[in-house]
């Protein structure tokens, strides 16, 4: 070991606390970067592999009924590589353990040929046995939520007829990585599942022998999905085609993509902030270390060490910190990444979702860490290289001071000597004071972001379930029906209020842009599913025209007054031009609303409803649900409380985990910055403080000198930090703006108080440590020659 390295080693040992603090802050940024990047990497590569190995389709279309003979014509559409016709029907499920009706989608498994697209992955049990009837496969999410095992019986209502099945296997499909009832952004896996059975068995139940009502296609490389969709729509028009769509409109695919998008947003914003703080701290630590070692540097130069040798020596300080940070950060990133991945497995169903370390992210993290350290060292080292060797020969000249401005304007008389020392010191080193304030402000700001995230999600949920949806549950009918069908439901036990709903699948088009969704129609003055404007006031539905959610308006590029083309995808499939009359606030999904009569007029099928919303007497809710199970027209029910509970266990749990991790990081950083700052100030002033102790100042009096200064800086930094934090939080949270979910940035007093309290606590604890150190201050050393 060279002597300079020995010095490095000794110096680092003396600065253990600070070295560790810098490494921790930097490590937090790196851990975050590695954690989120690896999660993205895991999700992306796993999805890609899954799609490829299980041949996830490119284009999807649901129709009423088409003969098998049509398939060759569809397969001949230019750009189509493979077609898979099949049957998909909505069914009601009777689960003995469940008090409410469950429903699901039954899909066909071809008997005469292998499954070409959307192949299944058998998690447990086995495939359907050729020739055996009364068997089915169940999606894993549903099976797990209801504790179903291969071999268990399951009762389905197929076309109104109860039929007993036995579960052969629990499976996964690339089509339902995220499984939820169509049009619902939050899943309830207990009451909605997907099932597969032999094609002949469903065909028999639904009179679809020799026909299909669902089609998936794979495109040849380079083929245009849009062109294929258009051609499909043309060919299937006569067969009740509901509009072909590509992956970009596939609910499960979109959901995973959105999640990745959100992670990506977070993976850039947060770590950047953290690493900036780390670079800052490294810079501060080294700057001040060099100031303390000015004479040593001069002596080294006087002995003939070259500038380059000295620069390298101090760069090593930064590298040691960066290396330590990389080790800590990578370790923590991998450990936390594993936990996150395990959590994502809860609501994204992949055959295997393994944590895959994003080596590129590690490389980036190392690079960024080293760069942060180097940036910190750069300016400091340049200064070091400029110290003339002659400096070493003279005792340290006292730093130049002058009265602080408070004294210059005549307030000096009110200041104690300690306050005077503090103020003059701050004025003497404005750059240092600025950097300290900036560091403390950033530490405060970091604390704002994760809590803003939490508060925004809370607001979203409150909006969704308390402001928009006032009903207790929604019931969907098997098919559009006359309002009379609801009168039976109205008489069920515990019903306080019922409101009819008509949902109609449609394609909304404005100019070149279009989206496929269900237009939801309710009475003009509804109490249940309310349409809300951006001031959170209810909008009354106009007698004609559409109200669309702000996000849909943005996606379509339409504004109130514009005429939208509405192509209905069921019944007689009318195409109409409907004015956009207003824009509503909606934080999840895309929404389009109309007044009930207005929609029915457009559809031209007379008075029809597809479901209803209910308010119930809580005491009779169970009785209501049990009764509901026996009504054949009922296809599904969605219960607000179940959705909410389910959401808390999955999505909210994941958001909370990430939020808590980030918050923990932010707290570590806040402490690191505050502590580090206190330690550096102490190191710089050690001689002065020890002198004060020698000439008779008590420990508390001496500590006051330092703490007044730190206190002033902290007080200045906190409001700036809140301001900066609000900015960062707004930028990061509002970047989460997808068609699945939009987060409005919410800044609460609670959030601010927490940040202030944390920084104040950090400052207080650091003050205690400083006090402790002052107690151990080496008085005798202070009397010797300055080092």
């Amino acid at each position: 070991m060279s002597l300079l390295d020995l010095k490095l080693w000794r110096d680092l040992q003396r600065m253990k606390g600070q070295t560790l603090a810098v490494a921790l802050v930097m490590g937090c940024g790196l851990a975050m970067l590695i954690m989120t990047r690896s999660l993205i990497h895991s999700l992306e590569t796993t999805r890609q592999t899954y799609y490829r190995t299980h041949r996830f389709a490119d284009v999807f279309v649901q129709l009423k009924r088409a003969p098998r003979s049509l398939v060759p014509r569809l397969a001949a559409i230019p750009g189509v590589a493979a077609v898979q016709p099949g049957i998909a029907v909505q069914v009601t499920v009777d689960l003995p353990g469940l008090d409410e009706p469950a429903s699901g989608l039954v899909r066909s498994v071809p008997e005469d040929r292998p499954m070409e697209l959307n192949r299944l992955f058998i998690r447990r049990g086995r495939e359907l046995q050729p020739g055996r009837r009364g068997e089915l496969l169940v999606s894993e999410a549903f099976a797990e939520a209801n504790r179903l095992q291969p071999g268990d019986p399951l009762t389905l209502l197929l076309n109104g007829r109860r039929q007993e099945f036995r579960i052969a296997g629990v499976v996964l499909s690339p089509e339902i990585i995220f499984e939820a009832r169509p049009g619902v952004s939050l899943p309830d896996n207990r009451t909605y599942g997907t099932f597969w059975m032999w094609e002949s068995e469903i065909a028999a139940a639904y009179d679809l022998e020799g026909a299909f009502n669902h089609l998936t296609l794979m495109l040849a490389p380079g083929a245009s999905a849009q062109a294929v969709c258009a051609e499909l729509d043309r060919l299937l028009q006569a067969h009740g085609g509901r509009g072909a769509h590509a992956r970009a409109d596939h609910p499960s695919h979109v959901r995973v993509s959105d999640e990745i998008f959100i992670l990506r947003t977070i993976s850039i914003g947060f770590p950047t902030l953290f690493l900036a703080v780390a670079a800052f701290m490294t810079h501060a630590v080294l700057m001040r270390l060099l100031t303390l070692q000015r004479e040593q540097i001069a002596i080294l130069k006087a002995f003939g060490f070259t500038d380059a040798q000295i620069v390298v020596h101090y760069l090593k300080f930064g590298l040691v910190m960066a290396t330590l940070a990389a080790v800590l950060g990578t370790g923590a990133g991998i450990a936390l990444g594993h936990r996150l991945v395990a959590l994502y497995h809860l609501f994204f169903r992949f055959p295997e979702l393994h944590f895959r370390l994003d080596l590129a992210a590690v490389a980036v993290a190392l690079g960024v860490g080293a760069l942060a350290a180097a940036a910190g060292v750069a300016t400091a080292v340049r200064k070091a290289a400029r110290v003339p060797p002659a400096e070493a020969m003279r005792p340290e000249p006292p730093a130049r001071y002058r009265p602080a401005w408070m004294e210059r304007v005549g307030w000096g008389a009110y200041l104690s000597p300690a306050a005077r020392m503090a103020l003059r010191n701050l004025e003497r080193h404005p750059a240092q004071a600025f950097f300290t304030v900036a560091g403390l402000a950033l530490a405060t700001a970091l604390l704002i972001v994760p809590n803003c995230f939490r508060d925004s999600v809370d607001l979203l949920l409150g909006f969704q379930w308390d402001v928009v949806q006032r009903q207790d549950l929604n019931v969907g009918l098997v098919e559009p029906n006359s309002p009379a069908a609801l009168s039976g439901l109205r008489r069920l036990p515990g019903v306080l209020a019922v409101e009819p709903i008509r949902a109609a699948p449609a394609r909304l088009r404005f100019g070149p842009r279009s989206r496929q969704l269900a237009i939801v129609a309710v009475p003009a003055e509804t109490l249940h599913s309310r349409v809300i404007n951006k001031h959170w006031r209810q909008l009354s539905l106009p007698p004609s025209g559409l109200i669309v959610s702000a996000k849909l308006a943005e996606v379509l590029g339409a504004r109130p007054g514009d005429l939208l083309e509405v192509e209905f995808l069921e019944g007689r499939r009318p195409v109409c031009h409907v004015p956009l009359v207003a824009v509503s606030e909606d934080l999840t999904g895309l929404g389009a609303h109309m007044e009930l009569q207005a929609l029915n007029r457009l559809l031209g099928e007379g008075d029809r409803v597809t479901g209803a919303s209910f308010t119930l007497d809580p005491a009779q809710r169970a009785a209501f649900l049990r009764a509901l199970k026996d009504i054949p027209q009922v296809s599904w029910v969605s219960i607000k409380d179940s959705l909410r509970a389910n959401f808390r266990q999955t999505t909210a749990a994941s958001i909370n985990l990430i939020q808590r991790m980030y918050l923990a990081f932010a707290v570590v950083v806040a402490f690191g910055v505050v502590y580090n700052n206190a330690r550096i100030s102490l190191a710089e002033r050690a001689r002065e403080l020890a002198t004060l102790r020698v000439i008779g100042f008590t420990e508390t009096e001496v500590a006051a000198v330092l703490l007044i200064e730190l206190g002033i800086l902290t007080l200045v930094a906190m409001p700036l930090g809140l301001l900066a934090g609000s900015g960062f939080a707004t930028a990061i949270v509002e970047a989460i703006n997808t068609e699945t979910v939009r987060l409005p940035a919410v800044l609460t007093l609670r959030n601010y108080s927490f940040a202030i309290a944390t920084v104040a606590t950090a400052a207080f604890l650091s003050a205690l440590i400083v006090l402790q150190r002052i107690r151990r201050l080496d008085l005798i050393a202070a009397l010797r020659a300055p080092e």
Binding site: E699, L783, A785
Partner: protein, 247 residues
């Protein structure tokens, strides 16, 4: 003249201000242990001007630090009146330093962010019966540089501010560790004059460490340390004023 006789001779005047018995300081332990002080017996009287001589590493600074209550001995006793500094708590020693001791260091140790007057006022604000900071600075011939910061003063001037700071509290003991070590002869003389004047006019017990044997002629008593022990001491028949010292 032996040590016993010296003590007897002076005891008749007044009781000793500081009384060390078997004062021992060991740094480290085991084979690496250093006996910086090895059973020092010493009486120091009010108004005395004492010079401590001895080779480097002989224990001068260690002894001075003990006398100033900066450190506690490994063994032995050190009495300041009825206060045994060897057994005193940190708080008691702080109070002792605050009210009874003035320190002057080789490297001045002024607070750079405070002016000359404020450096002195720092002490006068906390001491029991201080003099006016300006008076203290006049005593060291610095009455005109009151509002200068340390960076605006020469080394000798800074050291004189340090002396003013040390004596402004009217200490019973003034302890100086190589006060002229970093100064040239002429400046050194000015500093020694200030110390001598304080000793004479305020009757402060003054202990000065120096490597310069010439300075010993200023003293009432000269103590030679060697390997942590008092090797011998002598009493000067008369004190030579600093200006008349033969360099």
């Amino acid at each position: 003249m032996n040590a016993e006789a010296l003590r007897l001779e002076s005891t008749e005047a007044s009781p000793p201000l500081l009384r060390a018995r078997g004062l021992t300081k060991v740094y480290g332990s085991g084979p690496a242990a250093v006996r910086a002080l090895d059973g020092v017996d010493l009486d120091l009287y009010p108004g005395e001007f004492v010079v401590l001589l001895g080779p480097s590493g002989s224990g001068k600074t260690t002894l001075l630090n003990q006398l100033g209550g900066l450190d506690v001995p490994t063994a032995g006793d050190l009495w300041f009146g009825s206060l045994n500094l060897a057994r005193a708590s940190e708080a008691e020693r702080t109070l002792y330093r605050r009210n009874a001791v003035g320190f002057v260091f080789q490297f001045y140790n002024l607070i750079p962010s405070l002016t000359a007057r404020e450096n002195v006022a720092l002490i006068t604000e906390i001491a029991a019966r201080p003099m006016d900071p300006e008076e203290a600075l006049r005593l060291v011939q610095l009455g005109e540089r009151l509002d200068h910061f340390p960076s605006q003063l020469s080394g000798g001037e800074q050291q004189r501010v340090a002396i003013a700071r040390a004596i402004a509290k009217r200490p019973a003991v003034l302890l100086c560790d190589e006060p002229t070590g970093a100064l040239d002869v002429r400046t050194g003389v000015a500093v020694l004059e200030a110390i001598e004047r304080v000793n004479r006019e305020l009757g402060t017990l003054t202990v000065v460490i120096t490597h310069n044997a010439v300075i010993a002629d200023m003293a009432d008593r000269v103590i030679h340390l060697m390997d942590g022990r008092i090797q011998h001491q002598r009493r000067n028949p008369q004190r030579v004023p600093p200006r008349a010292l033969q360099w």
